[in-house]
């Protein structure tokens, strides 16, 4: 695992943290924990931190499940005063976003809940994927006014 330290981008109010990890299940918790520590530092409330942690975990699961053992996946945390952006990218198998099924509670399946959970928990989610070309997931959580005032 490699972690670059915080780089200041052109916008002085934005800071980025990048991680690159092997596509293996045992590394997912590291990204999840990192996301919750950063969300806490930004000033999100406990429920939001929990949402971010779960959404990030699901995106990493997706990268690990669709990647191959030898592959890596990349995570970028973009921190600003009013929002937290997380980008997760893999070079794995990819999938057809349009054919991703909506969960059917009358016929529940053992897999396929991940993207649905991310979309339910985050404020803005973008998924780009195509078979053979990997997957890119960008998710945003906005800091609510109350938490902003508290900070």
């Amino acid at each position: 695992m490699t972690t670059k330290c915080a780089n200041k981008s052109e916008d002085s109010k934005k800071e980025n943290i990048c991680m690159s990890l092997p596509s293996k299940p045992e590394y997912v918790s590291i990204v999840r924990m990192t996301s919750s520590v950063i969300a806490n530092k930004i000033g999100f409330n406990i429920e939001d931190i929990e949402d971010i942690k779960v959404a990030v975990g699901e995106a990493c699961n997706n990268a690990v499940l669709h990647g191959c053992d030898s592959n890596i996946f990349k995570v970028e945390f973009i921190i600003s005063e009013e929002k937290f952006i997380i980008e997760i990218e893999d070079e794995g198998k990819g999938f057809n976003v349009d054919k991703y099924p909506h969960p059917d509670i009358c016929n529940p399946k053992e897999s396929g809940l991940g993207i649905f959970i991310i979309k339910s928990l985050m404020d803005n989610v973008e998924v780009k994927s195509s078979p053979g070309k990997g997957t890119f997931i960008r998710m945003i959580k906005f800091l609510n006014e109350k938490d902003k005032a508290y900070n």
Binding site: E26, G57, P108
Partner: protein, 104 residues
């Protein structure tokens, strides 16, 4: 991250009581699956999952529970989830799984 699973047979209620302690994610979901399948091979009865000390579950963990529930439902048995923390209840709710699992 780790998951501890304590299991016991409740002979009075004729069910498996399983205490989940820690986190169920992509790295621990398989061990949960193996343990629950083993219990059902021994006795196909209701499973009560005590989630009082379960801090986290993700879609891979929910997938394991869905698989086991399907097997139990086919013989008219159930999974009963007790004491879930708010973050875990929320996940069951947004996925609609609160309608197919018995949650107390």
């Amino acid at each position: 991250m780790s998951l501890n699973i304590n299991k016991a047979f409740d002979s009075e209620k004729n069910l498996w009581e399983v205490k989940l302690i820690g986190e169920i994610d992509i790295s621990t979901a398989n061990s949960l699956k193996e343990i629950l399948i083993k219990l059902l091979e021994e006795k196909e009865i209701d499973i009560k999952l005590d989630c009082k000390e379960l801090d986290y579950i993700d879609s891979t963990g929910l997938g394991v529970l869905i698989g086991i529930l399907k097997r139990l439902k086919s013989i008219d048995k159930d999974i009963i989830i007790i004491n879930p923390k708010p973050n875990i209840s929320k996940l069951f709710k947004i996925t609609g799984l609160d309608k197919i699992f018995i949650i107390k």
